[in-house]
């Protein structure tokens, strides 16, 4: 009896040894990370080009699905415009030779994984199931393994600002500022939290002004 109680107490203790935060607490706000090219002079730019009401999409689950439209795209892209306007830049058309290009897109990571479990229920000869003869060292029947498939998606909202008048040696446009905001999919309110994250991106980048 003493031994059983002792082991029970040990087990209960070990079960609690790696506490983790609750998901709802973890995802109440998005993480916002911005990077800047310190050589860029943001006061030298005046105009930008931005696709409104449409976001780009990069996904490993469906490479052909490349655009997002609708309310989410409208709210996010127009918040980006609002913030750039507040910073003193002007939205112009492509034909007006803009200084900056602004790309807003979602990067989706779709993961699938499987787990295999054995039911433990006996199978029967003639029915689906494995039978291990005793000469294999196994006695009895084992059911088919059941395979459970799980999937989840995560997504990061990205804003990239390019200097349209500078290209590198590979003839690529120079990225002068970038913001990563995540996770979008698990957020309790993706619309509101994405707009807040866009605001935060500009708040933590005070150098981004005309």
């Amino acid at each position: 009896m003493s031994r059983k109680l002792f082991y029970f107490a040990l087990l209960v203790g070990l079960m609690a040894c790696q506490p983790k935060p609750k998901l709802a607490e973890l995802v109440k706000d998005m993480v916002v990370e911005t990077s800047v090219d310190n050589t860029a002079d943001f006061s030298s730019y005046a105009t930008y080009i931005l696709q409104l009401d449409t976001l780009g999409k990069i996904s490993n689950s469906d490479p052909t699905d490349t655009l997002i439209t609708g309310d989410y795209a409208s709210q996010v892209s127009r918040e980006v415009k609002s913030r750039l306007d507040m910073a003193g830049y002007s939205l112009v058309k492509k034909t007006q030779n803009p200084d900056l290009g602004v790309a807003v897109f979602l990067v989706e990571d779709y993961q699938v994984f499987q787990s295999v479990s054995y039911s433990g229920y006996p199978g029967y000869y003639g029915y689906p199931g494995y039978y291990y003869p005793s000469y294999y060292g196994y006695y009895g029947y084992y059911g088919y393994p059941s395979v459970s498939t799980y999937s989840y998606s995560s997504a990061v909202l990205v804003i990239e600002i390019f200097d349209l008048k500078q290209k590198d040696a590979q003839n690529k446009l120079k990225v002068v500022w970038i913001s990563y905001m995540g996770d979008v999919y698990i957020s309790v309110d993706p619309y509101k939290k994405s707009v807040e994250a866009v605001d935060q991106s500009f708040i933590q980048s005070p150098y981004l002004k005309k």
Binding site: S2, R3, F6, A9, L10, G13, L14, A16, C17, Q18, P19, K20, P21, E25, L26, V27, D29, M30, V31, V32, E33, T34, S35, V36, N38, S154, G182, D183, I186, Q200, I203, Q204, S205
Partner: protein
Amino acid sequence: MKRVFLLVLVVGTETGLAQSYDKLFSIGWDNNIPLSNTSYVKKNSSRGMRASIRQFMNEQFVMGGDFSWAAYEDYSPRQTYPTSGGALTTDFFKYVYSYGLTLSGGYYFRPGEKIRPYAGLGLGASYNDFAMYYNVYSADDKKWGVLLRPEAGVLIRFTEHGSWGALAAVHYDYASTKSTDAGYSNFSNVGIQLGIVVIDW
């Protein structure tokens, strides 16, 4: 008179034998206060446990081993941190998962008594996992080190012949686990342990 003397001698000897024992097994709740780098975690940890075994080498000296764990946690509210290339805004849930395995020795005072104060020292290995969770992201730094643990406490046997008892102890842990990511050159803490003891099961 001679019979009375013999009776006293026998009863006295039996009582003395009843109060001696060879082994102790204990399991207890461990409440710890972190001492090093309190900018990472500074809150007391009430999530901790220690399981111990002790073998009496004689009436007073013991040798044995301990397995312990403790989980420290703290929270940094959402704020903006400068980074090398920009800035990061998030809140952090910070944890230190601490595990120890030691060889331990000790000295128990007042042999034959129901209440026995003791002092001991443990030396072994520590394994600390310095983990941070933020949104769906996480980062951790897992480190091994040497663990040194002096302690003092008291063992109380509930009844003269029973196999159950209790212990209370205070200990200081010094672990050489170093984490550059979490800003630790070592990990140290003081702890108070309250436990149950099984005697010679």
